[in-house]
């Protein structure tokens, strides 16, 4: 994992930044939300895919691409979480100042 992180740090940083921006926007975004049921279903699918990756079932290049996708997705989620959290702090402060 360390090797992958070192070898792909640029791509992972990219995924993190995309996630950070998405998380930053998501706090004030008024668009469609994914329903809770779908979030749960997608989480199960993600868990299954992670399981497949850990079990090293997919061989060769496809296996590598799966690992790469999951790593990027992981960094994306972390970026989203941090982005949303920071934006939330900013929004709360602005609201406090306005009142």
């Amino acid at each position: 994992m360390t090797y992958l992180a070192m070898f792909h740090w640029g791509w992972l940083l990219g995924a993190f930044l995309i996630g950070f921006c998405m998380g930053w926007i998501a706090v004030v975004y008024r668009g469609r939300s994914v329903s809770r049921v779908w979030i749960q279903r997608l989480s199960v699918i993600a868990a299954v895919i992670v399981g497949i990756a850990i079990a090293k079932v997919v061989p060769g290049r496809f296996g590598y691409w799966l690992d790469l996708g999951l790593a990027l997705f992981g960094f994306y989620l972390v970026g989203c979480a941090i982005g949303s959290w920071l934006r939330d702090i900013v929004v709360v402060r602005q609201q406090a100042r306005a009142t």
Binding site: T2, Y3, L4, F7, H8, W11, G14, A15, I18, G19, C21, M22, G23, I25, A26, V27, Y29, G31, S33, V34, S35, R36, I39, K56, P59, G60, R61, F62, G63, Y64, W65, D67, L68, G69, L72, F73, Y76, L77, C80, A81, S84, D88
Partner: protein
């Protein structure tokens, strides 16, 4: 926490650029990643001894095929690749190197190159053997056709290196290791090479045995050429040591009293058994020829030339084969020299005196047996007697002053008779000769010195005109 659920429900649009990023990352990074993992896996195997090692990387999965020389080595190699950072799976296609039964290794030498065949146990052994071959056979091309297999006997390398040193002593031939049996065949480069190889094989590593040593040596040759024109005897070739050299030189001096001896003999080991006795006998036969060549090659004696008369030719042919040591072969191509022109009595006397001054008829001590070294001189005396058929010859025996006068008298008479007998056996009519013994009554030198006594012990030929 509730906020996270709410926000995460709106994170999905970012998945579209993320998917694009994923595709681009996969497109761009796959080949560099595979190249990097290939290099790292290969580096991880750097200190592992393998044959036919091959690494193919697909994504992060490594297909590793190789032939290992032991089960431990094979496992260790697979573990090394598995432990390479970044490697996800290793498709283990390794196996053990085939085992050779019997384990055969061959070093074959011809005129231009040394070819190494068969199998070596490890790449390092193979390298060491090739290096040893280059060192032992500097200047000769070394062709390495060895394969690698398991099953070598213990201390194989040391045995192979020792054999390469022996192959260096061969002109052509081969050395073979078959399990722990060693066999050598071929022709040694130098005289004594066969003996040197046999001696070196005694130092073989423990456990190895010599199954066959069929190395042949170049023929051990001695040549002697008797040239009546320059009146020289030329000796060339080899003698085993200085003692035998001195003995042969001394024998040649006694047998060729009239000739100048040119001694070009060189010392070398490798002489066949009975060498000194055979060469001495052969030199005796040569001394009886007018002109001739003697070639002693290994255990074969080849004598060619002209005897002084017919009976001598027959005697030489018969005695050479008879007197050689057991196991020696004689090949005598002896013809008879054309009879020399007749001479008158005075020339005949002069020739007798000349020959008996330069050489002496030798007898065994206190005996009337003619020493074999005198055969050449006696043959010349026979030839002279044949050139003057109309003269009578008195054969006079003399002794030195030592001992009893009556014994000396008797001894001198017997010695004169022995010489007469030789002449008669050679085909001369007995009635042409008379014998007389003078004992020690007519000394020609002092009897007080050994040199003087030597001169006094003599046979004289006195020509008397036929009645």
């Amino acid at each position: 926490m509730h906020g996270f659920y709410r926000w995460s429900a709106k994170w999905w649009p970012g998945l579209i650029p993320l998917a694009i990023l994923w595709v681009v990352a996969a497109w761009v990074s796959t080949i560099p990643l595979e190249t990097d993992l290939t290099a790292r896996s290969t580096a991880a195997l750097k200190n592992t001894i393998l044959d036919k090692s091959q690494i193919t990387v697909a994504g992060r999965d490594v297909s590793f095929s190789a032939e290992a020389f032991s089960e431990d080595g094979r496992r260790s190699a697979v573990s090394s690749v598995e432990a390479t950072p970044g490697v996800r799976l290793v498709n283990d296609e390794t196996r053990l190197v085939a085992e050779a039964k019997p384990f055969v290794w061959v070093a074959e030498r011809d005129n231009v190159r040394v070819t190494l065949w068969g199998t070596a146990p490890l790449p390092a052994s193979r390298g060491r053997i090739v290096e040893a071959a280059r060192a032992a056979l500097s200047g000769t091309e070394v062709s390495d056709r060895m394969g690698l297999k398991r099953g070598a006997p213990v201390r194989f390398d040391a045995a192979a290196v020792l054999l390469l040193d022996q192959v260096a002593k061969l002109k052509e031939g081969k050395a073979v290791i078959s399990d722990t049996n060693i066999s050598l065949s071929g022709m040694a480069r130098d005289l004594g090479g066969r003996e040197a190889i046999a001696a070196a094989l005694k130092n073989l590593p423990e456990g190895f045995t010599v199954a066959a040593n069929d190395v042949k040596a170049p023929p051990y040759v001695v040549q002697a050429n008797k040239d009546p024109v320059t009146n020289t005897l030329t000796l060339s070739g080899y003698v085993p040591d200085n003692t035998i050299h001195a003995a042969l030189a001394s024998a040649a001096g006694r047998k060729f009293g009239n000739e100048k001896i040119v001694d070009n003999l060189k010392a070398s080991i490798g002489a066949p058994g009975g060498f000194a006795a055979a060469v001495t006998t052969a030199l005796g036969a040569l001394s009886r020829l007018s002109t001739g060549t003697l070639v002693v090659s290994d255990r074969e004696v080849k004598l060619s030339g002209d005897a002084l008369y017919e009976v001598a030719a027959d005697q030489i042919r018969a005695s050479l084969a008879r007197e050689l040591p057991q196991g020696w072969q004689a090949k005598a191509e002896v013809s008879v020299k054309p009879a020399a022109a007749p001479v008158d009595a005075s020339v005949c006397q002069q020739l007798f005196v000349q020959n008996l001054t330069k050489g002496r008829i030798r007898f065994e001590p206190s005996s009337a047996s003619i020493n074999v070294d005198s055969a050449g001189l006696l043959d010349r005396l026979v030839e002279i007697a044949m050139r003057c058929p109309n003269v009578r010859v008195e054969i006079a025996g003399h002794t030195d002053g030592d001992g009893d006068a009556a014994f000396n008298q008797s001894l001198s008479e017997k010695r004169a008779l022995a010489v007469e007998e030789y002449l008669v056996k050679a085909g001369l009519p007995a009635d042409r000769f008379s014998t007389i013994g003078y004992g020690s009554t007519q000394p020609i030198a002092t009897n007080d010195t050994d040199e003087g006594k030597l001169q006094n012990r003599r046979i004289e030929f006195v020509v008397r005109q036929a009645p």
